[in-house]
């Protein structure tokens, strides 16, 4: 990431590099994690990249032995993203929830500091009960970064009732070779308590990593499932 010329690197590449950095940190490799080390405060694309990664930008801070303390630069990167991309009045549920995820992660994993973190914005859960399973699965996979300890406990509780449906979504995603969706769903299923043994979640996560791990976001989800919930080979 360092020394890249502004404007020459597309946002997707910045996100991919940052996801690689997060996954590396979750594996316990690559030295102590600092958000501002993988996404620099003065890089124009940093706020957007943090907004897209959401809570995952702070995932390494959720580990018990994270190494380096959080510095003012790291905190500034988060505040900048929160200020730049708040969900609008007509924002989608996914947009609201990913933003909320970043706020919740700031509360949960970062020190309070001099300035308090903003309150998590309201995000509805009515759709969890009412959405047909294929659409529900797609949406939940987009919220994969919320499958972190302490985040979105209410959402997790509601999703528990849809465990079988999300498992069907995992099957569907693998059959479609939609590895990102499969990895995101697999990560959520790793957090949920009653996944059917016949799904083969552990082997499924390993399979998704083998098949789709070239995408750093896929690798990140699989690593997070293993690091925080002990699922996957």
């Amino acid at each position: 990431m360092a020394e890249q010329t502004q404007g020459a690197v597309p946002l997707s590449a910045v996100i991919a590099d940052a996801a690689t950095g997060v996954a590396l940190a979750l594996r316990g490799e690559g030295g102590p994690y600092a958000l501002s080390g993988i996404l620099r405060h003065n890089d124009a694309l940093t706020p957007a990249a943090v907004r897209v990664l959401g809570a995952d930008a702070l995932a390494p801070y959720a580990m018990e032995h994270r190494g380096a303390p959080v510095g003012p630069e790291d905190e500034a990167v988060v505040r900048q993203a929160l200020a730049a991309y708040p969900p609008g009045a007509d924002a989608s549920e996914v947009s609201r929830w990913t933003y909320r995820g970043l706020v919740e992660a700031s509360h949960a994993f970062l020190p309070a500091g001099a300035q308090p973190w903003p309150a998590p914005p309201e995000a509805a859960t009515g759709w969890v009960d009412s959405t047909p399973w294929p659409k529900l699965s797609h949406r939940v996979s987009q919220l994969a970064a919320l499958a972190l300890p302490k985040l979105a406990p209410g959402l997790a509780e509601q999703l528990t009732a849809r465990t079988d449906d999300l498992s069907r979504g995992f099957v569907r995603a693998v059959r479609r070779r939609d590895w990102l969706q499969a990895a995101g769903l697999g990560r959520w299923l790793a957090r949920l308590p009653d996944v059917a043994p016949t799904l083969g979640l552990d082997s499924g996560l390993a399979f998704v990593r083998q098949m789709g791990g070239a995408d750093p976001r896929v690798a990140l989800h699989v690593v997070a499932a293993q690091r925080f919930y002990g699922r996957g080979w």
Binding site: P134, D164, R168, V171, R175, R176, A182, T198, L199
Partner: protein, 327 residues
């Protein structure tokens, strides 16, 4: 997949439409004079065998009398095409160690239709050690075992042991199943339950597995518009205890059925106007649709009235089963 009582009106229209088209297509099911010599069995015996297997079932089990009558007419036509079973004696004479003539004959034998020469031949051929050598795959072996049972012969292997080796028996990770393996699982269920006549043979473990994963497989093959597989998956769904009814999947299959009652195997029916081409593209899926809609209709009635353990139609079609109480 939602529960509920299903849509008997839709299901009956689909069966009637399918049987109507099949009836019109009798000419294409007719066996050519060279059926026992150089005709392609995939174009002759296979279609007739499927017609017989599924119309026999519909003719016994469908709750509506006029549908049973239509199916029985087609089943009688199929038996007539075998020249009252003489065909099987000729086929077995020509290929004494092939399983397919015995499997085909078993379809008729379950309805009490027998041919003395064919019976004498199978008594000998199926007792050979050579007959017990594994052929094809485990799923196909289940069909051979069923044929032996239907013919009153000693089964050459233990049904449960063979089942344990199949795609259903091994309970594979549901995301590993491709088209061929899903097809295999549906036929494992058909052979285990004798095409839905003995749905109680589905163990709670198998039923739970299928109930959980059928919706994902249905979604995949609906998207591919593989209507024969969709029909087979819906038939398997109807074999589950307190069978769920998936209104979306049924509506999609109903939409794929043309006004003349035919259901194409994949996507849309061929538009060339060649009736022989249309027959080959549609006969299998059309039969499967009639079969699936019959099983789903029976499940509807059960949901309405509670389990039908005492239903004379079902008891009449029930197979005596050596391993019904097996774990």
């Amino acid at each position: 997949m939602t529960g509920g009582r299903g849509d008997p009106g839709l299901l009956d229209r689909m069966v009637r439409g399918s049987l109507g088209w099949l009836d019109e297509a009798r000419g294409f099911f007719r066996l050519p004079p060279n059926v026992t010599t150089d005709a392609d069995p995939n174009l002759t015996l296979k279609p007739l065998g499927e017609l017989a297997e599924l119309t026999q079932l519909i003719g016994v089990l469908h709750p509506r009398d006029e549908i049973r009558q239509a199916a029985r007419g087609l089943f009688a036509f199929a038996w007539n095409e075998t020249r009252d079973g003489e065909l099987f004696a000729e086929l077995i004479h020509g290929e004494p160690f092939a399983t397919y003539p015995v499997e085909l004959y078993g379809t008729f034998a379950q309805a009490g239709l027998r041919h003395a020469d064919a019976d004498a031949l199978v008594q000998t051929t199926t007792r050979l050690r050579g007959w017990r050598v594994a052929r094809e795959d485990h799923t196909r072996t289940l069909n051979v075992l069923n044929a032996e049972r239907r013919l009153g012969l000693r089964q050459h292997a233990d049904f449960a042991s063979v089942l344990a080796l199949t795609g259903l028996g091994r309970l594979p990770e549901p995301w590993t199943l491709d088209r061929k393996s899903v097809y295999g699982v549906t036929h494992d269920v058909f052979h285990l339950t004798d095409w839905g006549r003995n749905r109680q043979r589905l163990s709670p473990e198998f039923a739970g597995y299928l109930r959980l994963w059928l919706p994902s497989w249905l979604d995949t093959w609906l998207e591919e518009e593989m209507w024969d597989l969709v029909g087979e998956l819906l038939a398997v769904t109807a074999c589950l205890p307190a069978a769920p009814f998936d209104p979306v999947a049924w509506q999609r299959l109903a939409t794929a059925q043309a006004a003349d009652g035919s259901v194409p195997e994949i996507g849309a029916a061929p538009s060339s106007g060649d009736p022989a081409e249309a027959f080959l593209a549609c006969y299998h899926s059309t039969l499967v649709t009639a079969f699936a809609a019959t099983l789903a209709r029976i499940a509807c009635d059960e949901a309405e009235a509670g389990p039908v353990a005492g239903d004379p139609a079902l008891v009449g079609g029930r197979t005596p089963c050596e391993s019904e109480n097996a774990p």
